[in-house]
Symmetry: C2
DNA sequence: CCAAAAATGTTGTAATTACAACATACTTTC
DNA sequence: GAAAGTATGTTGTAATTACAACATTTTTGG
């Protein structure tokens, strides 16, 4: 099990190596590997497992009955997912989680939180709150990316956010075209077309998933 | 200050009246009143205040430079807002919060959490986690409501959620037409038009904010 | 290196939406 | 209860998007 990534995670911030090892046991940590395209959770499932990505990435998405996909979030190495469902153990998942690449996931049992001492639990809960509140901001961000009515507006909203995050006008995005289209809720072909126009208009330059804002 | 509503809130679940009174002091609880249309927070502000609605309602929204409004959430009596920003005290708000009706808000200082005992803090943090995780599900829901490309799809997605929540095919929604349009990210006139068509098609019946799914 | 598969880009047409302008209905206030 | 103000509904036209079909480029696996 790849411990080093978990040691630097938000969840274990402030805990030393010994404490982390104990917590991993207390929370029944289990690691599993998934191949690209595999479904890790399906809509309707119930879980109490907080999930941590140690390698690769997963998409949190919704797939409707007509085959339309909406990507809510892409979760990469070092990040958590399913925390809301893990902490609200009655609520069935509204989303699917799929391996966007080959990946490894560590599952941590949240119902085991109850067994911890108040002190440790308070520390862990504080970190969990950081995870959930940041996730909230992520979901809000996506709302702003999909808010513009026109495709160009959505693309620019998204690229601006990434640019600010990376402190640079030039950056890679974690999505391929189809994923970006499903994240922004637009047609893939319309997205490709608009990206071409934006390059012709001198707004951006891009090649594959590398972008530059001009 | 209207304590009774707070006593039944998620935040103080499991606490008795005495404890709640102490916590209110410890968290510097302050109540303020706002008239409809007043701005309570503006994008860019920083706060450590967890906000609780004791009367009326507020909208959490984003207003871009062209005057387009996106309503992320409507927060009613008995609910909380700004919890993410209160708990991440470095992060400037990405949204505005406006009084949707005349309302009263209680502000609770989250930086004061540090002064509480481990036991009390653990209990409070657990409740805060419930608030943030539920808020997450709310934000996810909105994503599903705005995911359909067509207006009718968005309306149906939204109405279905409410119908399931209220266990009835007949219900009131908390939005007027303009608010619903801004929540679903569609033009108000297009929304009105589509609602008319849906009534003609025998899908729904509605009058003002009362709806029936057929 | 080649063939096959996957990803990305391009184009045209039908359908949908944006936007503005206006009509009607409902509320509020005096 | 009239007038003013606000909310909601309707309509037409220009602009945009959906969708399908196909072209081109890139990646993958022998």
């Amino acid at each position: 099990m790849d411990i080093s990534v978990l040691h630097n995670s938000i969840l274990f911030k402030g805990f030393d190596d010994t404490e982390i090892s104990e917590l991993m046991k207390a929370l029944n940590a289990v690691e599993k590997k998934y191949n690209k395209g595999t479904m890790i959770f399906s809509s309707g499932e119930i879980t109490d497992k907080l999930c941590f990505v140690t390698a690769g990435s997963v998409t949190v998405e919704s797939n409707d009955m007509w085959g339309n996909r909406t990507i809510l979030n892409l979760v990469g190495k070092g990040q958590f997912f399913a925390e809301s469902y893990a902490l609200l153990p009655d609520v069935p998942m509204l989303v699917d989680v799929c391996a966007a690449e080959d990946c490894s996931i560590i599952f941590l049992s949240m119902k085991s939180l109850a067994n911890l001492s108040d002190t440790v639990r308070a520390r862990l809960l504080t970190n969990l709150l950081t995870i959930t509140t940041r996730k909230n901001l992520h979901l809000s961000s996506r709302s702003f990316h999909t808010a513009p009515r026109q495709v160009r507006g959505r693309i620019m909203a998204y690229l601006n956010t990434i640019s600010v995050q990376k402190h640079s006008r030039e950056f890679d995005i974690p999505f391929d075209r189809q994923q970006l289209a499903d994240y922004l809720n637009v047609e893939r072909s319309v997205l490709s077309n608009e990206l071409s126009k934006m390059q012709r208009d001198g707004l951006i330059r891009c090649r594959k998933n590398h972008f530059e804002i001009i």
